[in-house]
């Protein structure tokens, strides 16, 4: 979760404002939402992902399912794919998850019933970057119709995203081999500070004519973590297909949570449908993204100034909340035990944990770990 420079959670000012508006509105009650969610939320959420001028939206071939966070959106999508994709109830369709990925991806698809979950090459530890050749090679050799979970931006946990050119290559292979793109978009806006930039890959795939799913989370970019606000965007060939898909997703939703929680969806819908509040929100998002970017550049410059062995440009080249530092498990142990700096055994740090107050200490500690421990 995001932290301020004081190391505190941050409720976005626009969220506070909108919550107050909702609290003061006596015409609102707590009645059930429709099964697929709040209509104003659904339409706006998908519009954010696909862009105002999205051809798919204009052609009325976009569907949306309000879900419980990004996880809920992934689960509904996975359950639907297991029932209806590549035949009926074909649990053998391979599902590819990046190596590494968010560890819950595996569990979501497994619990949805898929029996064959594989990894695709992604992180190149030696060069601390994207293993594009490995990735493309895995796609070339994946069975036709395999499902690939793609991180729309700010890859979790590596922070390493394909460049637009690399995305184009990925899309070309996926199209040729009839692979299904399931985007996980948990950081739109939060990664670069720009909603459009962070949605580039999803929109490119849409423009290339793909049918795809995009699981969106508003946990981070709206700071609404515990309200569980998410959206599954479905892009299909035409309105008729999308309509039938949604009718089946309704059945899945009905036995999972019946209908989604209203509070978070109301906050997001109100914000996105008002030009002023929308601008205010974008500003809040940029505040968060800028702080993270600042911490990245400050950490890198300190490490380079200290002459810490190795190269540290990956700290600023990576994007989003997380960074794969390249520290090995022994060095991580040193950081945790001797310096009381908590990071994952993989060397992943949460950039949000950095503040102007602790930057020097963290940089020095990394320097020590790298020089003392091989």
């Amino acid at each position: 979760a995001y932290r301020t420079d004081e190391g505190q959670p941050w409720v976005l000012p626009v969220v506070k404002k909108v919550e107050q508006m909702i609290a003061n509105d006596n015409s609102l009650n707590h009645e059930y939402l429709p099964i697929l969610g709040l209509p104003e939320f659904r339409a706006n959420a998908s519009r954010i992902a696909l862009g105002d001028d999205s051809p798919a939206i204009k052609e009325n071939r976009v569907g949306s399912v309000q879900s419980l966070g990004g996880t809920g959106a992934l689960r509904i999508g996975a359950e639907f794919l297991r029932r209806w994709y590549n035949g009926n109830n074909n649990t053998a369709t391979p599902v590819y998850v990046s190596a590494p990925s968010w560890e819950n991806h595996n569990s979501v698809f497994m619990d949805a019933g898929f029996k064959d979950i594989r990894t695709y090459h992604y992180w190149d530890a030696a060069k601390r970057g994207l293993d594009l050749q490995g990735l493309l090679n895995d796609m070339e050799h994946a069975p036709e119709f395999s499902i690939f979970i793609l991180h729309a931006c700010a890859h979790n946990p590596t922070g390493t995203d394909p460049t637009p050119e690399q995305w184009k290559q990925i899309a070309a292979v996926m199209k040729r081999r009839s692979l299904f793109p399931f985007f996980d978009s948990a950081y739109q806006g939060f990664a670069s500070g720009s909603l459009d930039k962070d949605a580039w890959a999803v929109r490119y795939f849409v423009s290339e004519g793909f049918e795809l799913f995009c699981a969106q989370s508003f946990s981070k970019n709206f700071g609404l973590y515990n309200e569980r606000v998410g959206n599954l965007t479905v892009v299909g060939k035409d309105a008729d297909n999308v309509q039938r898909v949604l009718s089946q997703m309704e059945k899945i939703v009905r036995t999972t949570w019946s209908n989604p929680p209203s509070q978070g969806a109301r906050i997001v819908a109100t914000t996105l449908s008002s030009p002023q509040l929308f601008d205010e929100w974008k500003g809040n998002v940029k505040t968060m993204a800028d702080r993270v970017l600042l911490m990245r550049s400050e950490l890198r410059s300190r490490l380079e100034a200290l002459g810490t062995p190795g190269t540290w440009n990956h700290i600023t080249e990576q994007i989003g909340m997380f960074s794969f530092t390249g520290l090995n498990p022994k060095q991580v142990e040193y950081m945790v035990k001797e310096k009381h700096i908590y990071l994952m055994a993989s060397g992943r740090i949460n950039m949000c944990g950095l503040t102007t107050k602790n930057l020097d200490y963290v940089a020095k500690s990394i320097h020590e770990a790298v020089t003392k421990i091989q």
């Binding site: 959670p9 809920g72 515990n226 299909g236 309509q243 089946q248 999972t256």
Partner: protein, 401 residues
């Protein structure tokens, strides 16, 4: 071509269909008796005062929005367990239970269903009463369980077929799962009397069945939360380690906030901890962690003495209005000159009433009187007001005389 060419259009929801048709109707006297949500005597949704107060208190605390634990808000889950089990419950006091927050009743049922699928190896069979809430079957099916039934409702008397139920239940294979509605049976409104519950408990114990209670109407049925939880508490006292799903949608009017809980009564606190760890493993790949708003409101109400008192009064108010509508409907039917026995309308309890009307009669009610209900003759008493109960009685009399 599309990946989805072969995807069939899902069947239309029957209850939604009722509401859609109602909305299209231009008759000023129209009544929507399909609605599964409480309405006040003006036919409007009712936001409880204690809920409004709780919301104001919560807003003033200016809390952050950090993720809840996977198992939910601890103050909420503890209070939910205490509400269901009773503060003097040995099971509650000893800590030999685990309660996790669920997405209202449906989500809690589904967590439980998935848990049984994974850990209850003795049987795949879940026995539902005939009839049961329409969503029970697909929930358990999607969780990988099989559905069976036991006799419950007697359409000849519009009441409980107790001997049929006992007969069927005494023949259920050992170690099967049996689902019981704790109070205000949905859709019939027919509940066992306490003496009958005692016999059910004895039989269920003899057959060594796993008991799954669905309690969606505690407080809302009789107006008394302890009375409505009597069966749940009795079974536990008899040494039956039940599993339980609770909803706060109706009794706190928190419908769209999705406040619910799933409880497993265990042998001891250690078992409870182990069960909890497995429940979390099931929840995480479903939606990671639950939504805070409804749980926090419910928790504030249950844990703040003044608010809790106010809530008990308000939930009794809702129950009393429903009971009063039942009474008025029967007396109005008598006034209309109906010679039928309508006693079941006041014998039944909770939001719903199985009128005993046949499909042809229901169709006439819809077409000729703009009175909307489901084909099985079920009405939501919540949709009846002192303003329209006379019209309803008149309409029913016309199609049944």
């Amino acid at each position: 071509s599309s990946w989805w060419s072969h995807v069939e259009m899902g069947p239309p929801d029957p209850i939604l269909g009722v509401t859609e048709a109602y909305k299209r109707d231009t008759n000023s006297k129209k009544m929507n008796l399909g609605v599964g949500a409480y309405r006040d005597d003006n036919g409007k949704p009712y936001v409880l005062n204690c809920v409004r107060k709780a919301e104001a208190m919560i807003a003033s605390k200016k809390m952050d929005k950090e993720y809840l634990p996977i198992g939910g808000l601890a103050d909420f889950t503890r209070a939910s367990a205490e509400l269901a089990l009773g503060e003097n419950s040995e099971a509650f006091k000893s800590g030999r239970y685990v309660t996790v927050q669920g997405i209202s009743g449906t989500g809690s049922l589904r967590i439980g269903a998935n848990f049984l699928q994974r850990f209850f190896k003795a049987s795949r069979d879940v026995y539902l009463p005939k009839p049961s809430w329409g969503n029970h079957t697909p929930i358990f099916r999607d969780a990988g369980m099989q559905l069976q039934a036991y006799r419950y409702y007697d359409p000849k008397t519009c009441s409980l077929d107790f001997s049929g139920a006992m007969d069927d239940i005494s023949k259920i294979p050992e170690k099967s799962i049996i689902l019981l509605h704790a109070c205000a049976h949905n859709p019939t409104g027919v509940d066992p009397r306490q003496e009958q519950w005692k016999e059910l408990a004895a039989t269920v114990k003899k057959r060594n069945l796993l008991v799954y209670f669905d309690m969606a109407y505690q407080g809302f049925a009789s107006g008394d939360i302890n009375r409505d939880a009597w069966a749940v508490r009795y079974f536990i006292e008899q040494g039956i380690n039940i599993v339980l799903s609770q909803s706060f949608a109706k009794n706190m009017g928190l419908y769209g906030e999705r406040a619910g809980a799933f409880t497993v009564i265990c042998s001891d606190a250690d078992e409870a901890k182990r069960v909890e760890s497995q429940l979390k493993i099931l929840i995480r790949p479903m939606y990671s962690n639950p939504p805070v708003n409804g749980a926090r409101i419910a928790s504030m109400i249950l844990n703040t003495p003044d608010l809790r008192k106010e809530w008990l009064t308000e939930v009794k108010g809702m129950a009393d209005r429903i009971i009063s509508m039942r009474t008025q409907l029967v007396s109005n039917l008598k006034k209309e000159g109906s010679s039928h026995n309508w006693q079941h309308i006041t014998d039944q309890i909770g939001m719903f009433c199985f009128t005993g009307l046949k499909p042809e009669q229901v169709e006439r009610l819809i077409k000729e009187f703009s009175v909307y209900m489901t084909k099985d003759g079920r009405i939501s008493v919540a949709g009846v007001t002192s303003g329209n109960v006379g019209y309803l009685a008149h309409a029913i009399h016309q199609v049944t005389k």
